[in-house]
Symmetry: C2
Subunit: 429 residues, 2 copies
C-alpha cells in the first residue's frame, strides 16, 4: 500500500488458486518456486492463495517470502486442510475461520472436496488507520455443469460465506473477498454473494484491464487445463474473483486489474510454465476518504432490491431442490439399513439350524454387516445434508422477509407473522 497525493492509499492484491495437490498436480514444486519468486518480485500488499494443500509447501513459501511478506497464516481445517493461506506486508491483527456446514459427500473419494474442510478464512488488518477485513475462500468444485450434483451445496456455501462476511465486517472500513467461487458471473453462487453484500467486482470496475479475454481465470491456452472441460467455453471461464466494498467513509476504485495469460507471468522467461491451472488475479485498489452520505446505501433502490429478492429466491429454490433429494436419500438409506439388519439377523438365526451350511450363514452375516455399514454411513450423510440445507433455507427465508420490509411498497404482512408463515411453509414442504 502506498500513500498517494490527496490522502488516498493504494492496495495491491494478488489472488491465485495454486492447484498444489501433492503427487497429483503437475510441476507442483517448480510452480510453487516460481510463485514465490513472482510474489517477491512484484511486492503486493496482500497475497491470498487457495489449493495450497501441503503445509510443507506453505512453509517453503513462507520462508521464501519472509523478507517481503512478514505476516502469514495457513488456515487449518477438515482432514487435509482448507488449502487457504495468506501472505501480508501489513500486520495481521486478528484471524478467524468458518468451516462450511456442507461440502460434498464422503463417498465421493475421487472428488475429495469432503475431506478438505472448505472454509472461509478471515483476516483483520489495520493499514494507515483503515480497518480492512480480508476474506479468502474456495467453494465446492463443479465437476459436471450439466448435471451439477453439488449445486445446492455450493449455493449453501455461498450463503454461509455471505452471512459470515455480513456479520463479521460490521466495523470494517473496507471488505475484500478473494478466492475461487467455482461460479461463473451468471451463476447463483456469485450473484448471491455479490448482491447480498453489495460487493464490487474488480474486473468489472476497473478502467485498466490487461489479461485473458473476458477476464477469464481458466483458459484453454493454459497447458494444465483439460481441453475437454473447456469444450463449451472456447474463451475460458471466470470463476476466481477479487471483490470489494467500502463499508463507511471510504470510496474504493480499482485502478488496474490484470490476470496472467496461461503461459506464465509476464516477467519470467517466455518458455516458463503457468503458475497454476487457474490464472492469477492482480488488482490495484485505491482507497479514498469519502463523505459518509455517499456510502449510506442501506436503503437500496427499487431495481437493486428486486434483483436481490430474485437472487435470494433462486438460492432458496436451489437449496429446496437439494433438500428434497437429501430427504429422499434419508428415506431410502433408512430402508436399506433395515435390510442390512434383516440379513444380519437371518445369518445369526441360521446358526440354530444345523442343516444350513455355515458358509451361507457367514455370507449372510458379512453381507448384512456391509449393507448396515454402507447404508448407515449414507443415512448419516444425507441426514446431515438435510439439516444443513434446511437451516440455510430458514436463514434465507428470514433474510427475504427482512429485505421485503425494507421496501415499503411491498410490505404485505406484519413483521410478527411473517417468519412464522415462512417457517410453516417450509415445514409443509
Amino acid at each position: 500500500m502506498e500513500a498517494e497525493a490527496g490522502s488516498a492509499v493504494r492496495l495491491k492484491v494478488f489472488n491465485l488458486n495454486c492447484w498444489a495437490i501433492p503427487y497429483m498436480s503437475k510441476n507442483r514444486q517448480v510452480r510453487m518456486q516460481h510463485l514465490g519468486d513472482f510474489l517477491n518480485q512484484k511486492s503486493f500488499d496482500l497475497a491470498l492463495l487457495q489449493e495450497v494443500w501441503s503445509e510443507r509447501d506453505f512453509e517453503s513459501l513462507r520462508q521464501k517470502l519472509l523478507p517481503n511478506y512478514t505476516w502469514a497464516h495457513y488456515f487449518r481445517s477438515g482432514f487435509i486442510g482448507s488449502g487457504l493461506c495468506v501472505f501480508s506486508k501489513h500486520p495481521i491483527q486478528e484471524i478467524f475461520q468458518h468451516t462450511y456446514s456442507l461440502n460434498g459427500y464422503p463417498y465421493k473419494f475421487h472428488h475429495g472436496d469432503w475431506f478438505c474442510g472448505k472454509a472461509v478464512g478471515m483476516l483483520v488488518l489495520e493499514i494507515y488507520g483503515i480497518l480492512v477485513n480480508a476474506y479468502v475462500t474456495h467453494l465446492h468444485a463443479e465437476y459436471n455443469r450439466e448435471h451439477d450434483n453439488y449445486l445446492a451445496h455450493r449455493v449453501a456455501q455461498a450463503w454461509e460465506l455471505a452471512q459470515f462476511i455480513q456479520h463479521t465486517s460490521r466495523k470494517a472500513d473496507v471488505v475484500l473477498l478473494c478466492g475461487d467461487l467455482n461460479s461463473h458471473p451468471g451463476d447463483i453462487g456469485y450473484r448471491l454473494v455479490k448482491e447480498w453484500l453489495g460487493l464490487e467486482d474488480s474486473y468489472l470496475e476497473t478502467q485498466d484491464f490487461q489479461g485473458c479475454e473476458d477476464g477469464c481465470t481458466m483458459v484453454p491456452s493454459n497447458c494444465f487445463v483439460n481441453p475437454r472441460e473447456m469444450e463449451h467455453f472456447p474463451r475460458g471461464v471466470r470463476i476466481d474473483y477479487i471483490l470489494f466494498k467500502a463499508v463507511s467513509g471510504f470510496r474504493i476504485t480499482c485502478e488496474s486489474f490484470s490476470t496472467t495469460t496461461g503461459s506464465g507471468p509476464e516477467d519470467t522467461t517466455r518458455n516458463s510454465i503457468p503458475l497454476s491451472d487457474h490464472e492469477a488475479l492482480m488488482a490495484t485498489l485505491s482507497l479514498r476518504p469519502a463523505p459518509l452520505e455517499q456510502n449510506s446505501s442501506s436503503r437500496r433502490d427499487a431495481e437493486t432490491q428486486a434483483s436481490l429478492m430474485g437472487v435470494l429466491h433462486e438460492a432458496w429454490t436451489e437449496m429446496g431442490l437439494g433438500l428434497a433429494a437429501a430427504r429422499q436419500w434419508v428415506y431410502s438409506t433408512g430402508h436399506l439399513f433395515s435390510l442390512g439388519l434383516l440379513l444380519l439377523f437371518l445369518g445369526v438365526g441360521a446358526l440354530l439350524f444345523e442343516e444350513i451350511p455355515w458358509v451361507a450363514e457367514a455370507l449372510f452375516m458379512i453381507l448384512g454387516a456391509i449393507v448396515l455399514l454402507g447404508s448407515g454411513g449414507l443415512y448419516l450423510t444425507s441426514l446431515h445434508e438435510s439439516k444443513a440445507l434446511y437451516e440455510a433455507q430458514a436463514e434465507i427465508e428470514l433474510a427475504m422477509e427482512m429485505a421485503k420490509e425494507i421496501q415499503p411498497e411491498t410490505v404485505e404482512l406484519s413483521s410478527n407473522s411473517s417468519l412464522l408463515r415462512t417457517t410453516l411453509q417450509s415445514e409443509s414442504k
Copy 2:
C-alpha cells in the same frame, strides 16, 4: 421488555438445558408441556433452550407458545441437530449459526456429542432501538472430571465461541450469551469466554438472587440428577449461565436472578416434577443509556490484562496437550492402517498357494478389511482433531501477541516479528 421511568428498559431472559432426548430422557413429554405452560405464564422477552433434540418437541412448543412468543427458531446442524432453539417476544431480524470444528469422537457412540453438531446460534433483535445480539450455545459434555478426555475440545469450542461473538457483535449495543457451557466457574472454558469478551455473569452481578445455593444449575435434590455424579459436589454445580455486556452507550444491571430449585417451578403444584435435570435460569436485566466513556474499556487495566493473559496461556496449553495426543493417534493409526493393508495383501497373496485353506485366506482378508476401515476412520478423526486444535492454537497465539501489545510496558517485540515467532514456536512443537 418493559419501558421504565428514566428511559431504562427491562429484559426478562429465560435459559434452560431441557434434557429432551427422545426415548431416553425421563418424563420428556410431560416436562416439555410444563415448560410450555411455565413460559406462557411467566412471559419472558426471550427464552433460550438447549437439548431440544427432537424437532417435533420444538414444533409442539412453538404452537403452544405462539400467543406469547411470536418469533421462534430451531438451529439445525450435525446429524441430530444442535438441540438449540429460541423463542422471542420481539421480532428476530437475523439468524446465523457457527458449528464448532471439534465436538468429540464418532466412535464414542455412548457419548453421542459428535453426532449432534454442537454450535452457537446467533439472533439479532432490535428492541426499542437497542440492537441486541443474543447467542445460545451448548459446549461438549464432561463425562469424567478427573480424566476429562474432552477438555481440549471444550476449550477449543469455548475459544471458537468467544471468537464468533467477538467478531459478530461489533455493532451490537447489547451482547447476551446463554447456555450450558459444561464448565464450572473456575474452569478454563468459562473464564476464557468471560474474560476474552469482558462479559458479566448475571448470577454474580445481581443484588436479588433466589434459587439454588451458590447459583448451582445441577443439584442433587433434582430427582433426574444421578447422585453419583454429584458425589464431589454436595451443593451441586454451576455450569449454565446468562452472561451479558453492553458494547456501547448502555449500562446493564441484573435486577434479579433466580433458578428453579429441583422440584419444579414455583408456580405449579408442589408435587410437580422438575422441568429438566438442569435448573432453569431467569434473569431480569435493566438496560439504561450511559455516557460512552463509561464503557470504552478497550484499554484494560493491568490486573485484568494479566488475568486475561493467564487465561489465554492456560487455554493454549490445554489445546497443546490435546494436540500432542491427537498427533500420537495420527501416528499410531497410520501404522495400524499399514498393518491392515499387509493383512489384506497376505489374504490376496495366499490365493496363489493351493495348499492354504481358503478359510484362512478369507479370514485374513476380512481381518485386513476390518483393521483398514477401523484404523482409517480413526486416522481421519485424529487428523481432523489435530488440524482444528492447531488452528485454534494459532488464533490464540495471535490473540496473545495482540493483547501484549495493548499493554505498553510489556511490548518486547515489534509487531512484524511476533506472529512469525509464535508460528515458528508452534511449528517446532
